[in-house]
């Protein structure tokens, strides 16, 4: 079995991946590879299947065709654990950001060296640590979910539109988180509809086009 820390093999790879739903092609077939220390940016317009691709790669949806390998091993079960950020951020309205981060850590494990308070501070939620998520703005909720990624131990991140809902500072914050993540040897696959240019040192891009039915 290949070593997951091995720099030579991809952390996540997909071969011939395609999704068809009720006879309608959603995306693919496509190949992709994500290596440690890089960000793969998936660009495409609305409806090009970016979100579905991310859910398939995360193991949340079964692909119609093709296979996914995590660190060279093909298995549905081996795709997890990973840091996953979607439009539904996974936050419970009644909980505070601090409680939310504790829940994330219980599920995904702690990243050593950064406390929940420090993670929330670094995403700009200082002073909101104990306020129910219900009372936070959309951008602040996004920041809370990003703090969750920072607080937990995952080396592979799959982020759907990480820049959405954020102000200019927030977008710089996402760049900073991604840069630090790949510097630690992590890898991230992010989607974007193309308006925002990630300012990260190692970005590879992939374009998704609408599939003709």
């Amino acid at each position: 079995m290949p070593d997951s820390l091995d720099d030579s093999g991809p952390m996540l790879a997909a071969r011939g991946l395609a999704m068809v739903r009720q006879g309608e092609p959603i995306f693919g077939p496509l190949d992709l590879e994500l290596r440690a220390g890089e960000v793969l940016l998936i660009e495409g317009g609305n409806g090009s299947g970016k979100t579905t691709l991310l859910r398939v790669l995360a193991g949340l949806l079964a692909p119609s065709e093709g296979r996914i390998e995590r660190a060279g091993v093909e298995s549905e079960d081996l795709i997890a654990p990973l840091g996953f950020l979607s439009h539904a951020l996974g936050l419970r309205a009644d909980l505070s950001p601090l409680e939310q981060l504790d829940f994330f850590a219980c599920l995904h494990g702690l990243r050593p060296g950064i406390s929940a308070m420090a993670a929330l501070k670094s995403v700009g939620l200082e002073g909101f640590e104990r306020m129910p998520v219900r009372r936070l703005s959309a951008g602040q909720r996004k920041r809370c979910a990003l703090a969750g990624l920072l607080h937990t131990a995952n080396t592979l991140w799959l982020l759907d539109e990480p820049y959405a809902n954020l102000d200019r500072d927030g977008q710089i914050l996402v760049d900073r988180l991604l840069e630090a993540h790949i510097a630690r040897g992590g890898a991230a696959l992010i989607t974007s509809h193309g308006l925002i240019e990630p300012q990260v040192s190692r970005v590879r891009r992939m374009r998704m086009e609408m599939v003709d039915a």
């Binding site: 193991g59 419970r92 309205a93 995904h108 702690l110």
Partner: protein
């Protein structure tokens, strides 16, 4: 307890759900209020004849507990699905069955256990013979977790549907009928002086089976619904 271990995930899910229940404790108390109200209605509807009430008290309490348990099931997995935390559970390294088990256990602690706890008051109010009370309590203690498990499996199947309440009842009620029959049957047996061993053992067997299999079925249903 190391964060990210199976145990920490189990207690993490329980703690989060307990916290959000506590912050919505008015909603969480709904099943208990429902049970209390229905129990007080029975003497009003059937008249104050104590012997008549006492004869049906065991069955009445069982039916009320069963229906009250269903009230809070509808929302069991809905929040997880809608807010996206189900995705976070599925993308963690933890087995979903363990996380589902945590949710089921909390459902029982928040609904089944309080219902069992108010049963002595309900039994007194309906004039149930004191000698049948221990049997009623034991049968409820064995039966309510089964209701939570079966209900959670149905809730997992219907979590993605709008207005699933009716469908949920249609799925759950036929499946829990045996629990009701053996539970109420045990109380009846204790009143008529026959042995309660058989229905109690059947309930206990059902409990063991549902604890062993329920979380697995529930996890499979959740994955199905999320696809």
């Amino acid at each position: 307890m190391r964060k990210g271990s199976v145990l920490s995930a189990f207690f993490g899910v329980m703690r989060r759900d307990a916290l959000s229940l506590w912050r919505r404790r008015a909603d969480a108390l709904n099943p208990i209020w429902f049970a209390a109200i229905v129990i007080t209605l029975f003497p009003l509807a059937l008249g104050p004849e104590a012997a008549k009430l006492a004869r049906i008290a065991g069955g009445v309490i069982w039916v009320i507990v069963l229906l009250a348990s269903l009230l809070s099931l509808d929302a069991l997995f809905r929040a997880d699905l809608e807010e996206g935390s189900l995705d976070l559970m599925l993308t963690s390294a933890q087995p979903l069955a363990v996380l589902a088990a945590a949710k089921i256990l909390l459902h029982w602690l928040a609904t089944g256990l309080p219902l069992v706890a108010i049963t002595p008051i309900a039994a007194t109010a309906l004039g149930l013979s004191p000698k049948a009370l221990p049997v009623l309590l034991t049968s409820l203690a064995l039966g309510t977790p089964i209701i939570s498990v079966i209900g959670a499996c149905a809730a997992a199947l219907t979590a993605g549907l709008r207005r699933a309440g009716m469908l949920l009842s249609l799925i759950v009620l036929p499946l829990v009928v045996p629990v009701l029959i053996f539970g109420a049957g045990a109380v009846e047996a204790s009143l008529t002086g026959t042995s309660t061993t058989q229905p109690m053992l059947l309930l206990a067997a059902g409990l063991v089976a549902s604890i062993a299999l329920g979380p697995l079925v529930c996890a499979a249903a959740l994955r199905l619904g999320n696809h």
